[in-house]
């Protein structure tokens, strides 16, 4: 290795070679801005040969760029300070008609006496880099725009979710209101109680009418009837008769043929909602309630509160029936299943005493009851509700004892296609 050292190219030659071939534009200019040395890269940029440069001034070689370059060279000479990252914009002969960008570093070459003798220049054509940066920035801007648009979409989506959440809260409030209605019904216990309160309201005007009529008859029986008094009585009778009529009208409204609110309802969910309301009665009578439901049943379109009344009434009847057998308790079996293509069926079976065969045909008639103290309205109201929904209800005796009520409700009609 040490032997080779002597045969190494001289430092000056190596530097000259490097200067010549470096992929960066280089030149040295004197104090008059004449090119002293220039490499091939800068010659190529300027579009002129090495001979056309050396000994000529910047003004002479690239007059159109001299305005930008010469004052800067002069400044390096004057201040003996380098100028770094200085940009020059303009056309060159290598790329005629195209505006390009050059980034230059300029260093003073200082003599031993301390004077600036030359300016050494290194130039890079950064046009392509700038373009790449620009397109990168553009891409970045596009990306940011997309992010912005997407963010807006997300904000809108989030608003929609908020609205949806609010609607869900409203639905929950609605459900709890329903539950409160049902709980109230649970306190009223059964529609029999409702019928009792209606019969009480009817009894009052009927009592007044009868009493007034009989009072009038007593007046008529006198030798000289007090017609004025009789007229007053008749007027009171008219008022009380209308009052009784009003009670009947309200009862009709209660059992109106058209269900008020039609909703798509899963009957298994509806039944689950009723069970808590009869739980304490069932426990009190030592009754277990088992529910079997066919999965994925289609919804029915009903007034849920009215159908809940039906379910509750059937369950309360079954509990009462089992209770009549004594303290041993019993079981209620509920089944929710498909009733062919067009409906869903719910059965409520108990192992209570059952219904005597001669009475079973009449249980849905008003004022027919097999319960001691019952008013015979509950099943009549159930039947009325189900028929108003286009459904049916039936009953059969079970073997060896108990009975089983079944009702069906039609499926939600698909919208006409």
């Amino acid at each position: 290795m040490s032997q080779d050292k002597k045969e190494d190219p001289s430092e000056a030659l190596e530097l000259a070679h490097l200067y010549e071939r470096a992929p960066i534009a280089l030149c040295v200019t004197d104090k008059d801005h004449r090119y002293v040395r220039i490499n091939q890269e800068l010659c190529d940029i300027n579009g002129r040969s090495m001979e056309e440069h050396v000994g000529r001034t910047v003004h002479e070689v690239i007059p159109h760029l001299a305005e930008q370059i010469v004052p800067m060279f002069q400044k390096v000479i004057d201040t003996a300070e380098p100028i770094l990252d200085y940009e020059v914009h303009g056309e060159t002969l290598r790329h005629p008609g195209e505006k390009r960008v050059f980034l230059g570093n300029h260093f003073p070459l200082i003599s031993k006496a301390g004077e600036v003798q030359y300016v050494h220049t290194m130039v890079r054509d950064i046009t392509d880099q700038r373009r790449a940066e620009a397109s990168l920035k553009e891409a970045n801007d596009r990306l940011e725009e997309r992010v912005r648009v997407r963010t807006e979409e997300l904000v809108i989506l989030s608003e929609e979710l908020k609205t949806e959440a609010a609607e869900r809260v409203r639905a929950q409030e609605e459900a709890s209101r329903r539950h409160a209605e049902l709980a109230h019904m649970s306190r009223v216990r059964s529609m029999g109680e409702l019928a009792a309160s209606i019969s009480h309201e009817l009894n009052q005007p009927l009592t007044a009418v009868l009493t007034n009529a009989q009072a009038a008859l007593r007046l008529m029986a006198r030798k000289k009837p007090d017609l004025q008094a009789i007229q007053e009585i008749l007027e009171d009778i008219v008022v009380d008769d209308k009052r009784a009529g009003e009670v009947i009208r309200r009862l009709r409204t209660l059992l109106q043929k058209d269900p008020v609110a039609q909703e798509a309802v899963q009957l298994d969910e509806l039944v689950s909602g009723v069970l808590p309301l009869v739980r304490s009665d069932a426990q009190g009578a030592n009754v277990t309630i088992n529910v079997e439901s066919t999965p994925n049943l289609p919804p029915v379109e009903v007034d849920p509160v009215q159908v809940q009344q039906v379910v509750m009434n059937l369950l309360m009847n079954a509990i009462d029936a089992i209770r009549r057998l004594g303290s041993e308790g019993g079981e209620i079996k509920m089944e929710i299943s498909s009733a062919g293509k067009h409906g869903v069926q719910v059965t409520v079976g108990d192992n209570g005493p059952g219904i005597p065969a001669r009475e079973i045909g009449d249980v849905f008639e008003p004022f027919v009851t097999t319960k001691p103290g019952g008013l015979g309205m509950g099943l009549a109201i159930c039947k009325s509700i189900l028929e108003a929904h286009g459904g049916t209800i039936s009953v059969e005796s079970s073997v060896p004892r108990g009975c089983c009520f079944s009702f069906t409700l039609p499926l939600k009609q698909p919208p006409p296609s």
Partner: protein
């Protein structure tokens, strides 16, 4: 002392109260009508001879509650109960405590007048018994 027997009528229903008072007056009784048991207790000075016609379900003190209060008094008047409900348990309990009759609305005028006469007869016997005692 020969006053007409007095009937105290307690019923919260205006029509019922008015018609019953009318029937009783036409039938020769002196009637005082009250719309609640509380009103009766607050305002009435019961005469020595008389009878109470009492509705069961009323706002405030019930008919059964009023019977309980009257039982604590000396010289209480007999009670005829009238009700629009078939409250069988209450009926049994009130009859046991001395109610003269239990009439389910709507009832016939004869039923009511017979019950009142029975009440007044018992009242007379009780007054007599107290005098002799």
């Amino acid at each position: 002392m020969k006053t007409a027997p007095r009937v105290y009528l307690i019923d919260d229903d205006t029509s019922v109260r008015k018609s019953l008072a009318r029937l009783l007056r036409i039938s020769g009784y002196e009637v005082e009508a009250f719309s609640s048991a509380d009103e009766f207790l607050e305002t009435c000075c019961m005469a020595q001879y008389g009878c109470i016609i009492l509705d069961l379900r009323m706002p405030g003190l019930s008919g059964e509650g009023l019977q309980g209060r009257l039982l604590t008094m000396e010289e209480a008047l007999p009670i005829v109960v009238i009700t629009g409900h078939g409250d069988l348990d209450i009926m049994a309990s009130m009859m046991k405590k001395g109610a003269v009759a239990f009439l389910a609305k709507p009832f016939d005028d004869h039923e009511l007048l017979d019950a009142i006469d029975a009440g007044l007869a018992r009242n007379r016997r009780e007054v007599q018994g107290r005098r002799e005692a």
